[in-house]
Point group: C2
Chain length 98, copies 2
Amino acid sequence: MKHNSYNNFFVNFSNKTKFDIIHTLRDKSLSAGDIAKELDEEQSKISHNLQKLTKCHILDVEQQGKQRIYCLNKETIIPILELAEKHVKKYCVKRCDI
Amino acid sequence: MKHNSYNNFFVNFSNKTKFDIIHTLRDKSLSAGDIAKELDEEQSKISHNLQKLTKCHILDVEQQGKQRIYCLNKETIIPILELAEKHVKKYCVKRCDI
DNA sequence: CATTCATATGAAACACAATTCATATAATAA
DNA sequence: TTATTATATGAATTGTGTTTCATATGAATG
């Protein structure tokens, strides 16, 4: 497998903004604007991040009027999140992030 | 969950060097030096990366004489790799990485 | 078809992670 | 107890992803 697409996939889990977006969409679908509101972040910041998450199909989009509704690709993403959480809880309880 | 340790966990999958190390250790354990040799990379580069991978227990280490043998924490890491591969193969066949 | 609302986009600025290089430490053997 | 091999570490540099800001596009509505 080419490491690019692979690495790029994981990059999408490795900063706070994307983390917040993914977790916001874990139990509901939202428009770009509503995600920005809910996270109290600037519109274009959220938009840029949504583009990347969507490009590698971590998120799916659907146009609805003038809004764009984003939802999590639950099929593969939720299982990955769960495994990662399990690992982090078990091994990274205190300060693995230094 | 705190996003730090979480993000930090994923950061460790998102660059080529770490990708190469992880995949080299997928089927065998190696000393730091042998990893560097096998990947034809500079010693300290590999060492720095090994530190980070070990800190969040993606790798385990064991001292053996004056060598340090690194091995992959297969329990949680292999399943995550497999899910990621599945996703990438299915959704990122062409140029998700732009 | 002009206006408004929602979202996307490009480029510059910024932040942070990765690498490099020189050096230190740690374990062993002579 | 010095020399040698293996690995780690710190600081400066480099590289790359992220955010910001200004602006553009796109869909709907009067």
